[in-house]
Symmetry: C2
Subunit: 351 residues, 2 copies
Amino acid sequence: MARRRQAVTIKHVAADAGVSLQTVSRVINDGPNVRPAMRERVQASIEKLGYVPSIAAQRMSGAKSYLILALNDRERTIADWRKREGGDWVDQMLLGGMLKCAEYGYRMIIELVDTHNDHVERELGAAIAALQPDGVILTPPHSENPLITKLLAERHIPFARIGTRASGPGIALTMDDQGSARKATQHLLELGHRRIGFIAGPADYSLSGRREKGWRSEMVNAGIDVEDLYAVGDFGFDSGLRAARKLLQQSSPPTAILASNDQMALGAMQVAREMGLSIPHNLSLISFDNTPVVRFTKPPLTAVDQPIAETASRAVELLIGNAKAGDEPLVIEGSLVMRESTAPPARPGNE
Amino acid sequence: MARRRQAVTIKHVAADAGVSLQTVSRVINDGPNVRPAMRERVQASIEKLGYVPSIAAQRMSGAKSYLILALNDRERTIADWRKREGGDWVDQMLLGGMLKCAEYGYRMIIELVDTHNDHVERELGAAIAALQPDGVILTPPHSENPLITKLLAERHIPFARIGTRASGPGIALTMDDQGSARKATQHLLELGHRRIGFIAGPADYSLSGRREKGWRSEMVNAGIDVEDLYAVGDFGFDSGLRAARKLLQQSSPPTAILASNDQMALGAMQVAREMGLSIPHNLSLISFDNTPVVRFTKPPLTAVDQPIAETASRAVELLIGNAKAGDEPLVIEGSLVMRESTAPPARPGNE
DNA sequence: TTGAAAGCGCTAACAT
DNA sequence: ATGTTAGCGCTTTCAA
């Protein structure tokens, strides 16, 4: 194991520029009290020698680590990767978060941690001790795990909680699930649908509740009785199958369905096909998430886009401190991406 | 900026266990010359205090950084993420690489670098200086960029080159493109196809050549003239469209097509649909890569699976040094995933 | 088998 | 405005 040393250190630069270490350090960190001439001379040496500060050394002397930890649920993430169903949550996090990190000289490290685990604290504690990140991004369901938020708060590590409105320490960011659900429901309403079914996500995700609430409130606003229009799934394809059957195999079935995620929508699609219902002619369908797969179904699905990249990007900015966090949760609006799975109901006003 | 210190350091452990720093260090690193009793005592203190060594400090004193850098092409990766077409290269790298890293206490950091850039060396040099990774994983097209391999070799940083057979410094790993192409072609041959078209990838990817070679050699073996059965694309959907048209709009079109990646296969599918050719009845289709999207097409595509996760995992093992690298490139075999896009030709023996 | 001392590259605190 | 000193947490000499 060759003992590898830094090729060119602050010392080399100092020697080359004929100044003290401290002056070089000041230049690197944009510190005050350096004459422009001096600054330039040092900068020139830095360029010449191709000097880049060692993060490890910077960290050692109490400065920043330039590391942001993105915490994802271990079990779920690995399962998604293995299934290869096209979910791109992690990619979008990287797209938004990692690129924003890079802008400021930070790196993003993905860390997988089990929420349903006695040793969350141990696992997370170990990651923090080893890496000493300058900030942590929590994704659901970690965002609402008190064990995690407590630990982070105690250690005074800045953190962002994505996908939650719950108050508490840390910066809360939400993708406006409720508003998006309203938009989707409105769209269906405007097309003339009255019986709009809803497939909810599992209760242990708070966003499931918010999506449901958005749908429900629009329905109530429109004066529509919501009875028999509600089903629950677990975000999996099979649960979408079951939920859609329940909704569609009744005497007066919905003419449109809003599914709380893409996989359940795929399940609903399958049921429609089995029942000989053509989409969008006999059944309109809108899904949540807008993962890649909805572009390739027949027909392509109208879907609520979750602005994951944008949200991750904002989270990083907030953590790094180049943006100010308010007291209220930061709401990043999603959008409804129109494709070909929605149309007016076949028999307007049917019931 | 609160000057954050390590919560529990090696000193605390030493004090708690009543031994010297050095002894604790030996225990942490499984060093020699520690009596079992001593080791246990120290271990107990470590557990009790929840001590985890600081990577920064370890790195500072010349030890490992426990960081593996995974280098991906910036432009291509970002474009893929933005397109959201379901490519999951990065995810599979993480699945294989990151999990393997975790097994040994390492972390994997994804780094995006432009290959077609005068300052590749600068960019990479900066990342290395800042992070001081213990190993680097190169993905195409970096794997064959001499600027990069040279830099890494000079600095004596262990690195793996994925997707190349080229000799040179570093560990070469390939996913057996040629063998996979042979398998796919054989499968088509066994089904009774003779006129098997091939859509090649762009020439600047060496794997394009290997895939082509596999197809060509099987065809020659079977005594089939390959004329008019070959087209080239650039891995994009549109190029698949063009290539398929060229292949299919001739007097004696192929009864089967092997496309060098999924997106081009999608293009071919579209052309078939336009021409009223049903898959697999009138045209058999096999694609390379097996990204998520091929599960959702109609019909689902038979595809060559690229074992990215497995390859990344092996690369990490080799880099960390828990496996020995041979001189020859390590070949990780892909597999043909059977779905519904292949069948015997409509009129057996047609030409 | 154990411990003490030196130093890794850098920055904060304190001179000058 | 610049330089000097001390120390971060750890590992590697070297000494006992």
